[in-house]
């Protein structure tokens, strides 16, 4: 939309929301949050940008096709479920890395799974919103 006020605030809100979304993702295992809400907040950030600047601008800062993003998310999640099989454990058994990592916290297949959820949700929401936005009759 043609509004300096909205556009300027969006410029600052976008990174803020993205950082917030990652924050939600990684703390979700111990606090409210998680990949799902994280992904939604991230896509809200881009949706806001979309409303402010239009589809072409948002595509220029989000260059990957959303479908690829959701495919990546699904792949990540699915891989993390299959991963334990190679350790001789049943599907989707949690496999944890012993030490805590920066940003991520404790790393294990469930957190990878949650990250997959994050990307799927991001890809899905953006794909739907972009599509509806671009659909001119």
């Amino acid at each position: 939309m043609r509004s300096i006020i909205l556009r300027t605030m969006t410029m600052y809100l976008l990174p803020l929301l993205l950082i917030f979304s990652v924050f939600l993702l990684f703390r979700g295992h111990n606090h409210p949050g998680g990949g799902f809400v994280g992904g939604l907040v991230a896509s809200a950030a881009y949706s806001l940008y979309l409303l402010g600047f239009g589809i072409d601008k948002v595509r220029s800062i989000f260059r990957i096709q959303p479908i690829k993003v959701l495919a990546f998310g699904l792949f990540l999640a699915a891989s993390s479920t299959v991963f334990p099989i190679f350790f001789g454990k049943p599907l989707m058994t949690g496999v944890w890395y012993e030490h805590k990592l920066p940003i991520v916290g404790s790393l294990g297949t469930p957190t990878v799974f949650d990250t997959g959820v994050y990307f799927t949700v991001l890809g899905v929401t953006l794909n739907i919103i972009f599509t509806l936005f671009e659909d001119k009759e």
């Binding site: 096709q65 690829k68 495919a71 792949f75 699915a78 001789g88 454990k89 049943p90 599907l91 989707m92």
Partner: protein, 503 residues
């Protein structure tokens, strides 16, 4: 480890995901899809053998013991469904190579197909009621997309009814699961089966049984909940119709079989009597619907409903023979119905229409197609010695054993009307001469590329061969169905297999 039990879900999932990465690369998707369905079929065959030889198997997903986590459980009923889904998935994949238009292939037809198969297999495999809801949704959403993909007006109109009524069913399903959890504190089906007889208040169990009957009944398209099916199944491309016709309602039927042999068995006199009544009405209503139609696929669609009635009747009888008959019926029907839709698609490729009024003369043009139609058609009509006869016969004998003579009468009468509708198609499409005014529109199959023709006929021949094989050699299938029925009628086997370690 039993992680292999999850592979009928994992294979299609990864096939689907990989195809998403190759979005709009049509040729690559075609190859991946073919490989994926072949692998799934091979897996299904292996698994069936594995379960047949080693009994009920469980996979405790995430290594959480039942009833705490989600489990996959495979008994013979499950494997029946998985096997047939493998066959149908494989056949449809090939058939799609011959009939699917490029545009749809560009817009994710194959990933949608694979994910739908994933959802179907998940519904069969899971031993957890809520997880079943999730798989239902997976297959539903993919089927939503498949039924609407193409965006023709009829597709959209059909899809609206399909989507809304199925969502309604899902809502009832999930509420039912939630309430059941509120009552028992369990979600695992074996756990529920164990807890429900111990409940102090049995009255509410009947209520929940009706809840699930309605919810699954919508999915299974029983009377009077089937409306979405005839409104939509004839609108998408033939390949999609075919796999829908074969598999989708059967997921609902499977769920009914599962729930009403495992969980809601405390008041059979009430629940299963209602099922029998509904079964009879379903048979009649469906077949009458078919009798009134003059469009190839709509006739077939209504027949799905009436055939569901037979399966449900088997369940309602709740005797070994009845259940065995039901299981056998499901297997037979999926193969046959899918094949009939395949044939209808070829006829459409030949003549460009599904309307009986405009069709005709196909037998002269393609006698082989006539034969390939007759095998599944007569089988559906219950002509011996084709598979459909054994299915109907088994259910009928079970009805007599139980003293349900009215059910016997209805099932036989419906059998006759089914035969009538099939003959109607045969008369109008194959025997009748096409009217000159419509003949002009036709495009000859012979002009189609050889590859396309082969891809259309291979799956039809494959399924017809299976139908014939079952028909001429039903004993192993009936034995298998009987064994499955024995498992279903002795829930303790299932419960012990699932909860044995945890208790």
């Amino acid at each position: 480890m039993n992680s292999i039990l999850a592979m009928p879900v994992v294979f299609p999932l990864f096939t689907g995901i990989i195809m998403l990465f190759f979005w709009k690369h049509r040729q690559i998707q075609r190859i991946i899809n073919f490989l994926g369905s072949t692998a799934t079929l091979a897996l299904a065959i292996y698994l069936t053998w594995y379960i047949k030889t080693s009994g009920i198997q469980c996979l405790y997903i995430g290594a959480w013991k039942a009833p705490f986590g989600i489990i996959f459980t495979a008994d013979l009923l499950t494997m029946t469904m998985i096997l047939v889904s493998g066959i149908i998935g494989f056949a449809t994949s090939i058939y799609s190579l011959g009939t699917m238009d490029e545009t749809r292939e560009h817009f994710g037809y194959y990933p949608l197909l694979q994910i739908m198969i994933m959802g179907i297999n998940g519904s069969f495999m899971t031993g957890d009621l809520f997880n079943m809801f999730v798989w239902f949704e997976v297959l539903l959403i993919s089927s939503f997309s498949l039924v609407a993909l193409g965006g023709e007006r009829s597709q959209l109109e059909g899809a609206i009814k399909y989507v809304i009524l199925n969502l309604l069913s899902s809502s009832l399903f999930v509420v039912g699961v939630g309430i059941l959890y509120g009552i028992t504190g369990g979600l695992n089906m074996a756990d529920l089966a164990r807890k429900i007889p111990m409940l102090p208040n049995q009255g509410i169990v009947n209520v929940m049984a009706m809840f699930f009957l309605i919810s699954f009944g919508i999915k299974a398209a029983i009377f009077p909940l089937f409306f979405w099916l005839p409104a939509s199944y004839h609108t998408p491309p033939a390949a999609v119709s075919a796999i829908f016709a074969g598999m989708l309602t059967k997921v609902g039927v499977y769920a009914l079989f599962r729930v009403f042999t495992l969980i809601f068995v405390t008041n059979v006199a009430f629940t299963h009597t209602i099922i029998i009544i509904i079964a009879m009405l379903t048979m009649l209503s469906g077949v009458l619907g078919a009798a009134s139609q003059m469009e190839f696929r709509r006739i077939l669609s209504f027949h799905i409903i009436s055939q569901i009635g037979y399966m449900i009747l088997g369940l309602g009888l709740m005797t070994p023979l009845g259940i065995a008959g039901g299981v056998f019926y499901i297997f037979h029907h999926i193969i046959v119905k899918t094949n009939l839709f395949f044939v209808s698609g070829v006829v459409n490729e030949l003549k460009g229409t599904y309307l009986l009024k405009k069709l005709g003369g196909v037998l002269k043009l393609y006698p082989l197609l006539g034969l390939l139609f007759l095998i599944p058609a007569l089988s559906l009509g219950g002509v011996p010695p084709l598979s459909g006869f054994w299915a109907k016969y088994t259910v009928a004998v079970a009805a007599v054993e139980k003293g349900e003579y009215l059910a016997l009468a209805v099932s036989l009468f419906v059998g006759l009307l089914t035969l009538f509708s099939m003959i109607k198609i045969w008369n109008e499409v194959f025997w009748k001469e096409q009217k000159a005014e419509f003949a002009a529109e036709q495009q000859a199959l012979r002009q189609l590329p050889k590859f396309k023709i082969a891809m259309m006929f291979v799956p039809i021949i494959l399924l017809a061969a299976i139908t014939l094989f079952i028909g001429l050699n039903p004993e192993p299938f009936l034995d298998y169905a009987n064994e499955a029925a024995q498992q279903l009628l002795n829930p303790s086997i299932y419960i012990n297999a699932v909860l044995g370690g945890a208790q």
